[in-house]
Subunit: 125 residues, 2 copies
């Protein structure tokens, strides 16, 4: 029984996802405190350096950005490109497979709006 591979920062991104429902697999890959935000940010800016990425993501710490980027890279969701320069320069961007995930975003956003509307209705009066 292999334990976990590395330090995962994701609560459901574990090996026990042997469900017959593959949708869970996908959501697991993007579940993580900052992953969707990172993906979203990279999708709008194409390529960003570490500090740029951090500056675009309110509230994230270096540590978490590092960890989440590592996981995303390990999962082939993000590409890390190192330029052998001084000072060092590292650029992050989305992989093609991740870009294929972006068309789903609007559907998720629309559902969020609908759901929010419903819930606030319930809370009125």
């Amino acid at each position: 029984m292999t334990k976990r591979k590395e330090n995962s920062t994701n609560s459901i991104n574990r090996e026990y996802i042997t469900t017959n429902c593959d949708a869970i697999y996908t959501v697991c890959k993007i579940s993580g405190r900052w992953k969707m935000k990172i993906i979203y940010t990279l999708s709008t800016y194409e390529t960003l350096r570490f500090n740029e990425l951090r500056d675009h993501i309110q509230g994230i710490t270096d540590r978490m950005l590092t960890l989440q980027l590592k996981e995303l890279e390990a999962d082939s969701l993000v590409v890390r490109k190192v330029f052998p320069e001084v000072p060092p320069r590292v650029e992050y961007s989305l992989t093609d497979i991740t870009k294929e995930l972006l068309p789903i975003w609007p559907a998720l956003e629309q559902w969020a709006e609908k759901h929010r509307a419903l819930v606030s209705e319930d809370n009125e009066e």
Copy 2:
């Protein structure tokens, strides 16, 4: 600053989701160790009692089923219907808004397949 409302079993389902990316909101609602599995199961069986649900979800404990169902109910994703009988009888089903989420499932599943194919390629040789 309101803290958390209840016991959330979800690591990213917190109040700090004030991102400009609503897709995160949606994923948060279904992120949780067993939530998607519960939704998936209820989507195929329409209505299930507590024990039935548990029997369909391999590995879940009563405790976790209770907790996740509570959160799903609080978020209006699941309906809990109690029949005043002896022995007690409780039926769970999806809300309409949750059913509107199901059309997204196939896209997520297809991405999972693609991604898995890519990753296994990388691992070969």
